[in-house]
């Protein structure tokens, strides 16, 4: 089936099979590999994207479910002036090691700060609880979130 999606402000069309996840369609059909595919079970958050402004796991949403809705991926965060403040903060705080979890965490953090520009430690932990990182031990990720909140 052919579907229309608004991805990062652009109207895109794709021929998809009804059972294909939004993640698969973004990565394999629309040339947007920023959202990562790790567990495909909703457990790691590395595929986090915004669907109509809500944070979701793209591996658990069918592309067909997103038809006619707005999708924002990590590729849509940076603007003409360069990196999104959250991306810059992750780089500056050294919150990236292998980088596999980073796109999901960046989208999740951007979503958090959009709704809550000055989150407490507990609010940060709760908001990021669905994003797993095997490398950093999280300390520098929390530093990055606080850094981004201050900018």
């Amino acid at each position: 089936m052919r579907i229309e999606l608004d991805v990062n402000g652009e109207q895109l069309e794709a021929d998809v099979w009804a059972g294909e996840s939004l993640l698969y369609v973004l990565r394999e059909r629309l040339g947007l590999p920023g959202s990562k595919n790790a567990c495909e079970q909703g457990e790691c958050g590395s595929c986090s994207v915004l669907l109509d402004g809500e944070l979701v796991c793209a591996c658990l949403v069918l592309a067909a479910q997103a038809e006619g809705h707005e999708v924002v991926t990590v590729e849509g965060l940076a603007g003409a002036e360069g990196l999104h403040p959250v991306q810059a903060a992750f780089a500056r705080a050294g919150a990236v090691q292998c980088g596999f979890c980073t796109p999901g965490l960046v989208v999740t953090t951007a979503h958090l700060l959009e709704r809550n520009p000055d989150p407490s430690e507990d609010e940060i932990r709760e908001a990021l609880s669905g994003n797993l990182c095997r490398c950093t031990g999280y300390a520098k990720i929390f530093d990055a979130v606080k850094l981004a909140a201050g900018t």
């Binding site: 658990l60 949403v61 669905g130």
Partner: protein, 280 residues
């Protein structure tokens, strides 16, 4: 496979069965389709036909857990159970209807072992690894029901409106039998439309997990007080959400060697839940 957007709840319900499967948020169903645990020729998308939102104690089955956890109108136990479920990403897609009907998390079942619940003749978990499994109702299938909100709704005495009937949430669930291995009593072509949730004088939900967030309940305890009566219901202790007649009913549990620890946790959580409910 086809993706269909039905015109009405009735049209959606009547198209189900024979390879047509209802799809709400997709958070449970999408991975099961991918893993071949559910076969479907047609996905019937419920978003436009199942009610969403809360109005004077009635909850649309299409309301997300994220919407429920912040609704001040709802009893605390339900809000806490929703907030303690899964992760923010899952709560913003997962609906309450889908949550009540989510499949078991038993790994043997998810990995397609030919176990009792899959129609086979024995429960692999009983003899095998079963640390997450049941302490009640576990003689045939020893799985532990994963839903936190279901335990809260059971303690609250919620009722469901489906496309066919009205029923207490307790009657949605059944233990599997030789003839029928289903864990719910919902017909193939029946949809949950709404939930009616009574307002208690006080209620609470407590959840024990392997880590502080983002895991299924080892044991979840919901307590709801209506006047002089307090109702208790448990998640993670039986193949279905479990109503506990009174705290001492825990002494009648039938834990497996690997789940005896859950009885201890349940005792402690029940005590704490009851102590936390204001008395007057």
């Amino acid at each position: 496979m086809k993706f269909v957007r039905p015109e009405s709840p009735e049209a959606a319900a009547s198209s189900l069965g024979n390879g047509s499967v209802a799809l709400a948020g997709g958070t449970d169903l999408v991975p099961m389709l991918r893993d071949g645990l559910v076969q479907a020729d047609e996905l019937v998308f419920l978003r436009d036909v199942v009610p969403r939102g809360v109005q004077s104690g009635r909850i649309g089955a299409g309301t997300t857990l994220a919407e429920l956890e912040v609704d001040p109108e709802l009893p605390q136990a339900l809000r806490e159970a929703c907030a303690a479920s899964a992760s923010p990403q899952l709560r913003s897609m997962g609906t309450i209807g889908g949550n009540l009907l989510q499949a078991t998390r038993c790994w043997y079942w998810r990995l397609r072992f030919p176990c009792y619940l899959h129609g086979g003749d024995r429960c692999h978990a009983r003899q095998g690894t079963h640390r997450e499994h049941a302490i009640f109702g576990n003689d045939r299938c020893a799985s532990a029901h994963p839903s936190d909100p279901a335990a809260a709704l059971l303690a609250l005495g919620a009722r469901l409106q489906t496309t066919r009937r009205e029923l207490p949430v307790a009657d949605l669930y059944r233990l599997p039998t030789e003839e029928n291995r289903n864990l719910t009593a919902l017909e193939r072509d029946e949809l949950i439309l709404e939930l009616d949730v009574p307002t208690p004088d006080a209620s609470v939900y407590l959840k024990a997990m392997d880590r502080r967030a983002w895991s299924f309940a080892l044991v979840g305890v919901a307590a709801a007080r209506f006047g002089a009566e307090t109702r208790l219901a448990l998640a993670g202790v039986a193949p279905v959400p479990w109503l506990l007649e009174n705290p001492s009913a825990l002494e009648q549990s039938t834990p497996l060697p690997g789940t005896a620890y859950k009885v201890e946790i349940a005792r402690a959580l029940v005590r704490r839940a009851l102590a936390s409910l204001p008395t007057t």
